[in-house]
Each structure stands twice: as structure tokens, then as C-alpha cells.
Amino acid sequence: MTLSGYEALFFWIFALAAIFAGLLTVMARNAVHSALFLISSLVSVAALFVLAGAEFIAGVQILVYVGGVMVLFLFVIMLVNVGAEEKGNEEIFNNQRQVAASLIFCFLLVGGVLYAVNKGYSGLQKVNPPAETLAEQQAARDQSHAVSATKVSRITDDTQRVGASLYRYAALPFEIASVLLLVAIIGSVMLARTLKQESAADDLDPDEPKS
């Protein structure tokens, strides 16, 4: 699965954008800036999904994360944030010892993960068939796809395969996920209501403290 040419160039652009936007998400002082940097990180990762041939997931990522979850985050920031951070007198990180300990932990994690990825991938390459065979097989698979209207590329069948698998191979988890979403909707409505709304639902006098 090697990318080449412009794909490689865009891979590095979007990879660096995702990582820098992720770092700025964690380091921004204002929570709204954090949310905006997180949106750019998510969009960059969606572009990486397109490069990896998962167009459907990239679209879902943009629609659900950027269009849904991040808007929810921004709403809650507006509701909750009283502007203590913008004044600049509040510390945004934990105390020094906790930050130092967690950064040491993170650097150990970086070292361990990079070592494991390199070691594991070089082992994986030994098991695989040689790259020329794989390239030939890939070209044969590409031949079976329909040519697009502009005749410069081929139409991928990724969305079709994901949809078919979601309703056959993963039908039960799909239904369970719908129940999970229903539970999440009801739960967040229950959690976010005010005391007054709670008393109204339970048919109590809001001024009386509950026994």
C-alpha cells in the first residue's frame, strides 16, 4: 500500500497538519481555539482517510465529527465558559509535578510505540509477498472498476463494500449501535435538564427541597 507522487506529498502535508493542529488543541489557552484546532485536525485526518482509500469514512468523519460533535462542543463551551481563561490569570495546566510526570510518561510511550511499529513492520514485510506481485494484483483489481466521466481516474467501490458489509457482516452490531445512540440521547436530556424542569417532570413543588 505505498503511496507515490502527489499522494505522498499530500500525505506529508496532511499528516503534519493533523499533528500540529492536535498539539495546538492541547496547548491553546482558549477552549474555543482548542475546538477550532481540533476541527482542523479532524479534517486533516479525514484527508488521510481519503488517501488510504476510505472515502466513505472520510465523509462520515466530516459530517459526524465536524458537523455534529464539534458543534455540540462549541455550544457547551459557550454555555459554560465564563471567560476565566481569557483573563490569563488562571493556570490551564495541572501543577508542575503532574505535568512533568505525564510528559515523561508520554515520551516513554512515544519511544515504545515507534520502536514497536518499526520492529513489527519490518517483520511484516518479510512475511508478505514481494512488492511487484502486490502491485500487479492491485492493478488487476483497479481494472475492474468503472472509468469516471472525465476518463482520468477510476470510480472506487469503497462505499458500496462498506454498506454491504454493514448490513450483512455487521448487522447485529449496527442495531446495537442504534440502541446505544438512543440511550445517549435520553441520557443527555436527563442529565442536562434543570432542577425546575426535573421537579416539573416529577410533579413536585420546585421550592420544596426533595426528601
Partner: protein, 134 residues
């Protein structure tokens, strides 16, 4: 022992097929391992955010970053398994869909809890939310 020094010696080799040429070759053809490294770095940035920040909303955003890094790994492995001809490779993308569903549910519940907490405690700093601490 000598083997571990050979890459360092090769650094000084500017000839064709030297270490720089190999590095350029690897960088201009990103493969599975590059995707995994990017995913790992995003994951670790998210972990650092969860461990160091005081604002509970930014902690939630870091959790989203972590889940997204896991998705990147799923997609990269799906692509890799497709390229070696595995017929079930699309399972990685299915898993990514479910991760996105769970992330959305988690964000909705978590932000509901944040609003309820803010209503009762008037704070979003996690070190001041210590009702369960004894």
C-alpha cells in the same frame, strides 16, 4: 556491535543508494508504517492532553483526538490488508464507523454531565471537582 554503527557510517555516504537516498525513497513512498506512526503521535498528543489539562471540555476534546488516532490505525490496516488481498479487509472500515458512533454518544453524555456539573459546582476545572474524593 559493528552492525549498529553501519547506519551511522552510511550517513556520510552521499552516493546513490546511501542512507539519504534510502530515507528519501522511504519518505516519498509512505506505507503502512508511516500511517501507524502518525496515528501513534496523535494518540500520544491526546494522552498528554488528558493528563495535563485542567479544563474538562479540553479533556473531552483530547479523548476525541485519541479515538480519531485509533480510527486512523483501523483505516491504515484496512488499506494494507486490501493491498495484500485479504477479502475481509473492509472490517477495519466497519470498525471505524462504530468508533465514530461511540465517540458521538460519549460526547453527548459527557457534555450533558459537564452542564449538570457546571450548574451545581460553577466550575469546569477538574481539580476543583472533588466531590467523590475523601
Amino acid at each position: 556491535m559493528l552492525n549498529s554503527f553501519i547506519p551511522i557510517l552510511a550517513l556520510f555516504q552521499a552516493a546513490e543508494g546511501g542512507r539519504w537516498a534510502q530515507t528519501w525513497q522511504a519518505a516519498s513512498h509512505p506505507d503502512l508504517s508511516k500511517f501507524l506512526v502518525i496515528g501513534a503521535l496523535l494518540f500520544i498528543i491526546g494522552v498528554a492532553g488528558v493528563l495535563t489539562r485542567r479544563n474538562i471540555i479540553v479533556i473531552f476534546m483530547s479523548i476525541e483526538l485519541i479515538l480519531n488516532a485509533a480510527n486512523l490505525n483501523f483505516i491504515a490496516f484496512s488499506r494494507y490488508l486490501t493491498s495484500i488481498g485479504n477479502v475481509n479487509a473492509v472490517a477495519g472500515q466497519i470498525f471505524a464507523v462504530f468508533v465514530i458512533v461511540v465517540a458521538a454518544a460519549e460526547a453527548a453524555i459527557g457534555l450533558g454531565i459537564v452542564i449538570a456539573l457546571y450548574r451545581n459546582k460553577e466550575t469546569i476545572w477538574v481539580d476543583e471537582i472533588d466531590l467523590l474524593k475523601w
